[in-house]
């Protein structure tokens, strides 16, 4: 080791002399697996885009290091008097990156843009019935029903300059062709775009007129997407980049064993789970039970839950880096049900008993669908689960594939059991209840990711009440009830909370936020 590193150091020295541009201390290079597809904050609602653009654009509110909501372009907000909705008092003296002043008109314009049919983030504004500009620095969002979480839900709603967008023909987000906002930006955030070469390299430079006090010392940020995990890690270890998100779990030891690097470990808010085809009348992929769907019997679902040994999965596949999950959000997220924090334990004997009680003493076969490029080690998890299921007689026919044709299959009900990961977009338990537990209701846009259509009248009844309840204790009691029902009914088998592993050079200080967003404004290069 000593020999190699000396050799490496001397060679690196030589290489530095040869390179044409010596790296300045404040140039910060980082990499991630996916390139943000667009620079338009309303065109695509995907994590890589929203994460990246949060460095350039800002919302009325923003999330702090611990995910809590804090003032950003709005200095304060309060529920409206006499009607449902919220009033936002805007910050004065804010300028966009091109020098234009920020006013309520820009917020109104951005609202119209983001809520338009061409926008991919319009679901955030589904509860909004009207937006009123009160004066230059006050704006009201009227909602159809009481909505205590509305300010939280628009933390990623980014404001762009009305004059700039209109002058450049970008009043609406680009849907099928590019427009000016696809490659150019004008936000109020801490950084602005230096250069953009999609898929290759994107640079950020500080916005000199930013209203907040910079905590960073970065003069230039250079982002490169690196799709291949091994290549990304090599880039970090060779010093070509300063930071990478994420790195594979199994490589943590390798990074830690080398001098000059650090690993940042946290947990994401994403819970990985198995879902059932609750409403399917029969199994699609079974070789022995073709005229019924045993999973409609809660005892069979419970047996499946008992068959999973999450601790062994954690130890072998995740090297003890994940937290087993009991419900669809991790502890610490608002609405997490402390009262129901116990997992259904690993108990293969009980699983076999339950199967026998349900009339399947010898088990049966069924199809298990999984992605192989969506979640960390998803394929390995499914292979392990299939082998655990097999141990109690549940013979899973595993089929794995890329995520690009996974959702359509699930939408077409083409599964017996499936793997799903869910990250609560609003960082509240209401989110998974709305998308995963409420019965499918296309009209009201509820249960849209509840592929197996788990349906429980009480849960359906509780959701609107949870959404409108202002008293935290009463709200939590209702959430606890929903969680208890889903555990009794085994609506899903929650497995674990996905870990979040970043790696950086030692001389870099940065903040890892639970939503996996990387904020350049919290970076200090020493």
């Amino acid at each position: 080791m000593g020999y190699t590193s000396t050799l490496r150091a001397s060679v690196m020295g030589a290489a530095l002399v040869a390179a044409s541009v010596p790296a300045s201390a404040e140039t910060f290079r980082w990499a991630s697996g996916t390139d943000p597809q667009t620079m338009d904050p309303h065109a695509v609602s995907s994590a890589p885009v929203l994460s990246f653009l949060n460095n350039i654009y800002e919302g009325l509110v923003r999330r702090d290091r611990d995910m809590s909501i804090e003032p950003s372009l709005a200095t304060s907000w309060a529920p409206l008097d006499g009607e449902n909705g919220w009033r936002f008092n805007l910050r004065e003296g804010v300028t966009f990156q091109d020098g234009a002043a920020f006013t309520a008109e820009d917020v109104f314009f951005s609202y119209q843009r983001a809520a338009s049919e061409a926008s991919d983030v319009r679901s955030w504004f589904a509860p909004v019935s009207e937006v009123r500009v009160v004066d230059d620095f006050t704006i009201d969002f009227v909602t159809t029903a009481p909505n205590p979480l509305f300010p939280d839900s628009i933390a990623n709603f980014m404001i762009l300059d009305k004059g700039w967008a209109e002058a450049n023909d970008a009043a609406l987000p680009a849907r099928d062709a590019e427009n000016f906002a696809t490659l150019n930006v004008n936000g109020t955030g801490a950084f602005t775009l230096g250069a953009r070469d999609p898929g290759v390299r994107t640079t950020l430079v500080p916005h000199e007129g930013w209203w907040d006090t910079p905590e960073h010392n970065v003069t230039e940020g250079i982002f490169t997407p690196i799709g291949n995990a091994a290549t990304g890690l090599a880039a970090l270890l060779s010093g070509d980049i300063d930071f990478i998100q994420p790195i594979p779990l199994q490589d943590i030891a390798q990074v830690e064993s080398r001098e000059g690097f650090q690993v940042l470990e946290g947990i994401e808010t994403r819970v990985i789970m198995f879902g059932f085809g609750h409403e399917h009348d029969r199994l699609l992929y079974s070789s022995d039970v073709t005229d019924a769907n045993p999973f409609q019997d809660v005892r069979v679902r419970l047996a499946a839950a008992h068959a999973i040994d999450v601790d062994t999965m954690n130890r072998v596949i995740f090297r003890d880096k994940v937290d087993p999950a009991s419900q669809l959000v991790p502890a610490g997220i608002s609405g997490y049900s402390e009262a129901n924090s116990a997992r259904i334990p690993y108990d293969p004997d009980r699983a076999r008993e339950l199967l026998a009680e349900a009339g399947y003493p010898d088990g049966f076969s069924f199809g298990l669908k999984c992605t192989n490029d969506r979640y960390i080690n998803d394929e390995a998890v499914c292979r392990a689960a299939a082998s655990m299921f097999a141990a109690v007689g549940l013979n899973a026919e595993l089929s794995t594939g890329p995520v690009r044709d996974y959702w359509p299959q699930l939408r077409e009900d083409d599964f017996d059991m499936y793997l799903l990961g869910w990250s609560p977009g609003t960082f509240d338990m209401e989110h998974p209840i709305r998308f995963l537990k409420h019965s499918q209701d296309d009209e009201r846009r509820l249960g849209s990711w509840n592929f197996g259509n788990f349906s429980n009248a009480r849960v359906d009844e509780l959701l609107p009440m949870i959404q409108q309840e202002l008293d935290p204790a009463a709200r939590q009691a209702m959430i606890d009830e929903v969680v208890a029902i889903s555990q009794q009914e085994v609506a899903y088998i929650p497995l674990y909370v996905q870990p979040l592993i970043w790696a950086a050079k030692d001389n870099v200080d940065l903040t890892q936020r639970a939503d996996n967003f990387f904020m350049l404004r919290w970076v200090t290069v020493n």
Partner: protein
Amino acid sequence: MWAFIKRSEPLWLFVHSPAAIIAAILALTIICGAAFAPWIALNNPYDLASFSLMDGLLPPVWQEGGRAPFWLGTDDQGRDMISSILYGARLSLMIGLAAMAIATVLGVGLGLAAGYIGGRFDAVVMRIADVQLALPAILTALLIDGIARGVLPTDVQQEFRVVVLTLAIALSLWVNFARTARASTFVEMNKDYVQAAMIQGQHPLRVMFIHILPNILGPLLVIMTVDLASAILLEATLSFLGIGLPADSPSLGTLIRIGMQFLLSGEWWILWVPSIFLVLLVVSINILGDFLRDVFNPRLR
């Protein structure tokens, strides 16, 4: 007597070529191991109940923590590496051999016919060959895979993955055979004995298969061995790009793809054991290919 000597000449050469002997022994061992995998292997990677996650990530026995009977360690699922490799080689060889066979029949048939008939037929076949060449193997695999998805009902797709992959590889290999067969046919056609046979009015099929084919067997055999090797590699590459086989029916390529995740993590055996094995297999096939080339082209000796 003369025939006997001629037939045994390759044998004589073989006995005097240590590289070929070693390669043949290696290849035979691997092929036998693969063929008898169900009887030799400790556990069956297809049978999820035959291994346990509890045995996961065990190193080879000579390293600390390794234990019998997992002589070369286990992977992240608790599968014995030796068993996985035997089953993997079985699948890889099956895909490789089947792809090669399909490519040979298709390519030689078309090539012979194109060379013999010539004219418009030749032009059409060669244009199809161009289209094929213009679609690299990776893209061909995607195409076949896509069509299979569209045509086959979803519940049988998984079982047809192997067939689909084999076809994809075969389709990307046949052009070599066709071009060689066609070129050799041109040359042979101008020779007196073929001209004579044609003038005698022998059936074209007879001319093709009795007179021309035996004369181009040599180069074809060489291409076959080389293509067997490249079919196995191609399968590995496709698996690396994620359009190969799923992880629950692991070929050597899939094993390597899975192993790539452990390149740096200290579990070196998950990558290197199947990789070294693949290289041994492919190298020995290639050496045999070289040997055959020398046999059929004495001037190169």
